[in-house]
């Protein structure tokens, strides 16, 4: 009996560049970005460079936070493009987020823990989102730092392969609250200008907001759909916020994924490429250790900034659109390679005739993930 495949049934991206995946892809391909300096934002004394969603584009009504509205709107749009009954308990909701509704903590409104609204608990938030679609199955929230978006897809892959659900609705999102922005400023990880992934003059990351949804299901014929082939998560076991100098976890994740895909199938690696000194250097080491120095590498952080819990899903979806368009998207902000190992990065869009890519990602807590995706499976 042939092993069933896990394929993408529908998707959506909501970001400052558009409210559909298609709109977002066209904007990124044309080199557009909503990254700009933000000043005078309440709770954030130091100006910061970011790409933020204007709440006016969010149409969900009701007593929901910005985070919830982003998620609900994105999931709604994805569901509208496929034929599943979201209320069924054979549908599993998986939310990828680092901080969910943390902005509810602002202003010291709730002096005692027992005063806190339940909406600060991410599991409760996920239930609220699922309930909007009349789904009452216990949702999962993957809170694995910046790799959550890939991890959530890996959980979906496994849940489908094990028959624990028939469909998985994965939504990744985060809001750039004062909490997150001031935190990255305190770590001195941010750049006050447009970020420059892998570049010699990179000075740090930019922040971004997005919500991205992907709906997966099982099939025995991929036809012309995107298949999630495999994924792996590994830890550097080195430092809680600095990446490993040897790219240990990232390399091990790549090595695991390369058991299921050969280098000559890979159109490109969509890297994490946050434009911090250490992350980009680490990825160049990991990619070389994995023997992938000749594979085109790109980062989307120059188009969106770092979208935290959304990143893994957002960047996977755009990579799928790119391969569909026979394109390797250029890395906005890149000019001259500034990492110690050779990797193939370009500021310009390139062409490809390959049909698969790897999404590579890293996060605080020393975690790293890699996942491989292929267009169509019946070859």
């Amino acid at each position: 009996m042939e092993r069933e495949m896990v394929v993408k049934l529908a998707d959506n991206i909501i970001s400052p560049l558009g409210v559909t995946t298609e709109e977002n892809y066209r904007a990124v391909k044309a080199g557009r970005s909503a990254l700009r300096l933000h000043e005078g934002v309440p709770g954030i004394p130091i100006p910061f460079f970011a790409s933020l969603i204007d709440e006016n584009i969010l149409t969900v009504e009701g007593d929901y936070t910005k985070f919830e509205r982003m998620c609900i709107q994105s999931v709604s749009a994805a569901l509208a493009n496929c034929d599943i009954d979201a209320s069924s308990d054979r549908v599993l909701f998986i939310v990828s987020t680092t901080k969910a509704n943390v902005s509810l903590l602002a202003g010291g409104r709730y002096p005692a823990v027992s005063d806190l609204p339940s909406a600060v608990l991410p599991g409760v938030v996920a239930s609220r989102i699922a309930s909007y679609f009349s789904n009452h199955r216990t949702p999962l929230v993957v809170s694995n730092a910046c790799i959550s978006g890939v991890c959530a897809q890996i959980e979906a892959l496994r849940a489908l392969e094990h028959g624990l659900c028939d469909y998985a609705v994965v939504v990744g999102a985060d809001v750039q609250s004062a909490f997150i922005v001031t935190g990255f400023q305190a770590l001195k990880a941010v750049s006050a200008e447009a970020c420059r992934p892998f570049d010699r003059d990179r000075k740090g990351l930019n922040l971004g907001e997005a919500a991205a949804t992907v709906i997966y299901g099982r099939t025995d014929t991929a036809d012309n759909r995107w298949q999630m082939m495999c994924g792996a998560v590994r830890n550097d076991a080195n430092h809680i916020s600095g990446p490993s100098r040897t790219g240990e976890g990232s390399y091990l994740a790549l090595r695991s994924v390369l058991q299921h895909i050969t280098p000559d199938e890979i159109a490109f690696i969509s890297a994490h490429g946050t434009a911090t000194l250490y992350n980009d250097e680490m990825e160049s080491i990991a990619v070389n250790r994995a023997g992938l120095a000749n594979i085109p590498v790109g980062s989307l952080k120059g188009s969106y900034g770092h979208t935290m819990g959304a990143a893994g899903v957002l960047e996977t979806l755009l990579s799928m659109s790119a391969v569909d368009d026979h394109t390797v998207l250029g890395t906005r902000g890149f000019e001259n390679l500034g990492v110690s190992r050779p990797i193939s990065v370009s500021s310009e869009n390139r062409t490809t005739d390959r049909h698969a890519f790897i999404k590579l990602i890293s996060g605080f807590g020393g975690c790293n993930a890699a996942a491989a995706f292929k267009k169509g499976g019946d070859r």
Binding site: V113, N144, F179, T182, I240, E248, G365
Partner: protein
């Protein structure tokens, strides 16, 4: 108790979100290690009594302190050389409050715009998965680390996720379980070691977790 190889239970007499002060019991593989200990000194006392060689402990936030102590008790009980696992051991933990305790502490450093001094050492702990990182660093575990937040301690959801993690063929063993924390004095821990023989025994694992959590 065959699927759960070792376990540690750190639990208060009152429910974690009751807001009432409580004392704690610590139970290791069925043996009571500590009973009726006050919350504010328990973890530091356990550190001094059972670990003592890892001053980084004092930099950890409340969630990491509770989880780290539990992991040390657990791994000491297992009694195997920690470095032997490498990529074959992962750390996958669950809770309901995410990093709420540290989130509140960090938020306090930025709340007053006049005196806003965001603390980097508090901020780095405002992600629950950092606990999985701390355990991985201490023990050189290179396998899968992950953190899943659930609405409540749901033994079925946990058992499913734990079993599914073994889809990764490299994984032989998981340090896993529930580590929840609302503040320095409110935590609830059930940490376990589970191995590949859990595959195909999801329901049994769920029952064992439910039994130990009560």
């Amino acid at each position: 108790m065959s699927l759960i190889k070792h376990y540690v239970r750190i639990s208060g007499q009152q429910p974690i979100d009751s807001g009432h002060p409580t004392t704690y019991n610590v139970c290791l593989d069925g043996q009571m290690l500590v009973s009726n200990a006050p919350a504010d000194t328990l973890l530091a006392d356990l550190y001094k009594g059972h670990i003592g060689d890892y001053p980084k402990f004092y930099k950890m936030d409340p969630l990491c302190k509770a989880g780290f102590i539990a992991s040390e008790l657990l791994l000491n009980a297992e009694g195997r050389r920690r470095e032997q696992w490498g990529e074959s051991r992962g750390v996958v933990l669950f809770n309901a409050a995410s990093s709420l305790a540290d989130d509140r502490n960090y938020q306090a450093t930025i709340d007053d715009p006049e005196t806003s001094f965001p603390s980097p050492s508090l901020f780095v702990y405002t992600l629950p998965n950092v606990l999985t990182g701390e355990i991985a660093i201490r023990n050189h575990f290179y396998g899968e680390t992950n953190f899943i937040v659930l609405p409540t301690l749901d033994s079925e959801a946990m058992a499913s996720a734990i079993e599914m993690t073994f889809s990764d063929g490299s994984l032989q063993s998981l340090v896993t379980g529930w580590v929840d924390c609302y503040s320095e004095s409110q935590y609830d821990v059930l940490m376990l070691i589970v191995e590949r023989d859990a595959i195909g025994h999801r329901d049994e694992l769920s029952d064992e977790i439910k039994r130990l959590a009560n």
